[in-house]
């Protein structure tokens, strides 16, 4: 699993989408992250050094290659804009709903 910076993650995610255009799936996972880097110890309730509340983990894979990034509230605005644009631009293979326009073709729209 490759942990990347948010910008690099977006670049690699774009590549994943492009790679899977003809066949294959792109999986994206989003989860809240509390900043722990070590597994929770069984004995003694020693909390991780910094249990932070404002991070999330984003993972992406095509089944073979795995990438991930941690997003914190500081980068969220810029990242979210770029990320949303990326998703919308790449998930463009779905059916367009044009049943309405076909039936209205003969009738003039008001």
């Amino acid at each position: 699993m490759v942990l990347l910076e948010s910008e690099q993650f977006l670049t690699e995610l774009t590549r994943l989408f492009q790679k899977c255009r003809l066949s294959g799936s792109v999986y994206i996972t989003l989860k809240k992250y509390d900043g722990r880097t070590k597994p929770a110890p069984r004995k003694g309730s020693v909390e991780g050094v910094e249990p932070s509340d404002n991070k999330c983990l984003l993972r992406a894979t095509d089944g073979k290659k795995k990438i991930s990034t941690v997003v914190s509230s500081k980068e969220v605005n810029k990242f979210q804009m770029a990320y949303s644009n990326l998703l919308r631009a790449n998930m463009d293979g779905l059916k367009k709903r044009d049943k309405k326009s076909k039936s209205k073709k003969s009738k003039t729209a008001q």
């Binding site: 294959g24 792109v26 989860k31 969220v76 709903r97």
Partner: protein
């Protein structure tokens, strides 16, 4: 595992599921360009909610919902936004 046919129902239930236990819940998106299908799943490993679609109009809804959940995860304060306590 519960498959939803309506987006309204799915997004309402999914958000509730996340808010019930933010650390447990995760969101999974699966996109297949070859099939022209998009699937979003929200689960806490006990309950699993899934919404599938092949309609372009759902992409925006799903992407907005995904971003909304991301913002919830990144909200610093643990108190809800609705309750503003001094």
């Amino acid at each position: 595992m519960r498959q939803y046919q309506t987006w309204e129902e799915f997004s309402r239930t999914a958000e509730k599921l996340y808010l019930a236990d933010p650390m447990k819940a995760r969101v999974v998106l699966k996109y297949r360009h070859s099939d022209g299908s998009l699937c979003i799943k929200v689960t806490d490993d006990l309950v699993c909610l899934v919404y599938r679609t092949d309609q372009a109009q759902d992409v925006k809804k799903i992407e907005k919902f995904h971003s909304q959940l991301m913002r919830l995860m990144l909200a610093k304060e643990s108190r809800s936004v609705a309750m503003e306590m001094d």
